[in-house]
């Protein structure tokens, strides 16, 4: 913590950056902090409540943040992949951001909770974490905490895979009928950086904007397919969803498909090409007649 604050102070003092995006203790739990003055640096903290993916704030779509100037951003290993994704897809330049990596022992899903990690509250992404020390970081701070507890409970993706198409259809219909098409999943997603989303286009209108079953399915399937090889699994969409739709399941599935077929795991190395958008001559094509 002290190291993080010191580093932020130094970066602001020597004007390397004009804002450090990190975490602070708000009146109701942990929240993103925008530190612009060296003497505010001691507000910065890092603990298991720091679930937010701050890379989202680097997106050039956020005009009110672009005007803040050069940014440093505090990232966990998983979030670093989103920074890499933005660089990979030429949304930001690597040299335009200072990446402060924090060694992470897992986070809870609830920034307002007590911050004690248990099998019950540990964020789903921490179970499969292999980047507790972000590699993309310009600076790495903190001691490596012990590994997070492994969540218990059934593997829902495997459970769904074992069902018949009709059962899966019924499952998703029930879950997706709650979607109100607020598009919060898109707005909080660090990798949803399109200047204009296909769901907002009206000429032609591919995806209807109403929250009825056919448009809900069309929207969620389209978003997931656009996330193939992009999704960093941060779970911000699930956290934002006002209907608690298990978007994580589809995203997890799509990541598994991409890994199985193309050997690609979402990477924090911007130079690794995205799997969709590139190809190999010998890609499997067993499904094509």
């Amino acid at each position: 913590m002290k190291a993080l604050q010191e580093l932020a102070r130094k970066l602001l003092e020597d004007k390397t950056v004009s804002v450090v995006i990190g975490y602070e203790e708000g009146p109701h739990g942990v929240r993103p902090a925008f530190i612009t003055k060296p003497d505010q640096a001691d507000r910065l903290i890092f603990d298991p409540r720091c679930v937010h993916n701050l890379a989202t704030f680097l997106s050039p779509r956020r005009s009110h943040l672009v005007t803040l100037g050069k940014k440093a951003v505090v990232v966990k290993g998983c979030d670093a992949r989103a920074v890499a994704g933005l660089v990979r897809e030429t949304q930001i330049k690597r040299e335009d951001v200072v990446v402060i990596g924090v060694r992470c022992g897992g986070v809870t899903g609830d920034p307002m909770g007590d911050g004690k990690l248990t099998e019950k509250n540990v964020a789903p992404r921490c179970a499969v974490c292999d980047v507790r020390e972000p590699k993309l970081a310009d600076h790495l701070v903190g001691e490596l905490p012990p590994a997070p507890p492994t969540p218990k409970g059934p593997d829902m993706v495997a459970k769904l895979d074992a069902m018949t198409p009709e059962e899966r259809w019924a499952f998703w219909q029930k879950e997706l009928e709650r979607c109100v098409r607020c598009h919060a999943c898109r707005e909080v997603c660090p990798m949803c950086f399109c200047e204009r989303c296909i769901a907002d286009k009206s000429m032609p209108q591919w995806i209807e904007s109403s929250a009825h079953p056919r448009a809900n399915l069309s929207w969620q399937m389209t978003r997931v397919l656009h996330m193939a090889g992009r999704c960093v699994g941060c779970g911000e969409c699930v956290r934002a969803c006002p209907a608690n739709i298990p978007l994580g399941l589809i995203l997890k599935k799509v990541a598994a498909v991409v890994e199985e077929r193309y050997g690609y795991r979402v990477s924090d190395d911007p130079s690794v090409p995205a799997p969709i958008g590139t190809y190999r001559l010998d890609d499997k094509q067993e499904f094509i007649l």
Binding site: P27, H64, G109, K120, R178, V180, V188, S210, P242, N244
Partner: protein
């Protein structure tokens, strides 16, 4: 008005009775899977699905009066002619059970905007068909601030009946003719009121719990908001805001909407009204490309100003019931309580 008692078992039977009479019963019930299981206000299939002990449902009650999407008419085209198929403005009789006071109060506030000059029949139709049985709250959590906007965990505003949990079940305050009607129709379920004092104690304890969270002087706040549109304070208000609109989606009083057309095949379709929010850039974007609210700071200012200055100025009520959902569920950690506290301090009205 009068008071009654209702045991837990009788409440369940009451719900069954109402369902059996072909009415709709809406109550908090469990939805979602695994760790995402939560409660929402849903039409019940059976009385046992009702869950009254899990606090505030994730989304507010407003969607029972103002659905996320609704058809306003259908049309069919034949050559150059168009025929319009009207949508009925009468709705199935509905009883909402277990609405918390911050939700129960909201429709009455939104009534104002739905009825100034032009009467919105779709909203009013659902309002008239609905009886609201509210349930006194236990005081919620640190994000609650109903007492700051003139309500409270025991507020009966907007409710036809108010249930207060007591040892024997519920103490029932009968508040309106609609409430009387419900009680007399199902009188065998209600007993003599015996626990008024116990209920009072429950309510007082709950109020104490909420009161410390936030308080402000509403007229002073309104005056400050009206006079400080260009204040420096707004320039960085929404740094952590993603513009996702979850606050508005959850909000019991946010009522902005969009009107869109959708086609069914090529020569038929429907016009719909869908939820919309001032938190997206698209909301005010002109065809010319000009956008009066060009960034998130301006959009968030609009949300605060509309709720605490514009609406009170125009319609006489604060457009907020203090449910705290916008703070509790904001993925970016925006904190309306903190903002209101800041403004109250600047307005010199902090209590």
């Amino acid at each position: 008005m009068s008071a009654k008692t209702l045991t837990q078992a009788d409440l369940t039977s009451l719900v069954s009775d109402i369902l059996a009479a072909d009415k709709r019963v809406v109550a908090p019930s469990l939805v979602g899977i695994g760790p995402l299981e939560h409660i929402e206000y849903r039409p019940l299939h059976k009385a046992e699905d009702m869950v009254l002990d899990r606090g505030l449902p994730k989304r507010s009650i407003k969607e029972m009066f103002f659905p996320p999407t609704e058809v306003v008419f259908r049309w069919k085209q034949k050559k150059s002619d168009v025929a319009i198929d009207e949508i009925p403005t009468t709705f199935q009789q509905t009883v909402v059970i277990g609405a918390l006071p911050c939700d129960a109060a909201a429709p009455g506030i939104v009534d104002r905007v739905m009825n100034w000059d032009y009467r919105d029949e779709l909203w009013n139709g659902r309002r008239e068909a609905t009886t609201i049985v509210a349930m006194a709250c236990d005081g919620g959590d640190k994000s609650c601030f109903c007492t700051a906007v003139g309500l409270g965990p025991e507020s009966s505003k907007g409710a036809d009946l108010l249930l207060t949990p007591v040892k024997a079940g519920y103490h029932v305050d009968v508040l309106t003719p609609k409430g009387e009607e419900l009680v007399s129709k199902y009188s065998k379920r209600f007993g003599e009121a015996k626990s008024a004092d116990e209920a009072k104690k429950y309510q007082e304890a709950a109020r104490k719990k909420v009161e410390g969270n936030l308080s402000f002087d509403a007229p002073k706040m309104r005056a400050w908001l009206e006079g400080n549109f260009e204040n420096e304070y707004w320039r960085t208000i929404a740094l952590r805001c993603h513009g996702c609109g979850t606050c508005a989606t959850m909000c019991p009083t946010c009522h902005c909407f969009d009107i869109v057309d959708e086609n069914e095949g090529v020569l038929a379709g429907e016009r719909r009204r869908n939820w919309d929010t001032c938190q997206t850039g698209k909301f005010t974007l002109h065809g010319s490309g000009h956008n009066p609210r060009h960034d998130q700071n301006a959009r968030f200012r609009q949300r605060v100003t509309h709720k605490f200055a514009i609406y009170p100025g125009k319609f006489g009520e604060i457009l907020c019931t203090g449910c705290g959902r916008c703070q509790r569920q904001c993925p970016g950690g925006m904190d309306l309580l903190e903002i209101l506290g800041d403004i109250a301090r600047m307005a010199g009205g902090a209590a």
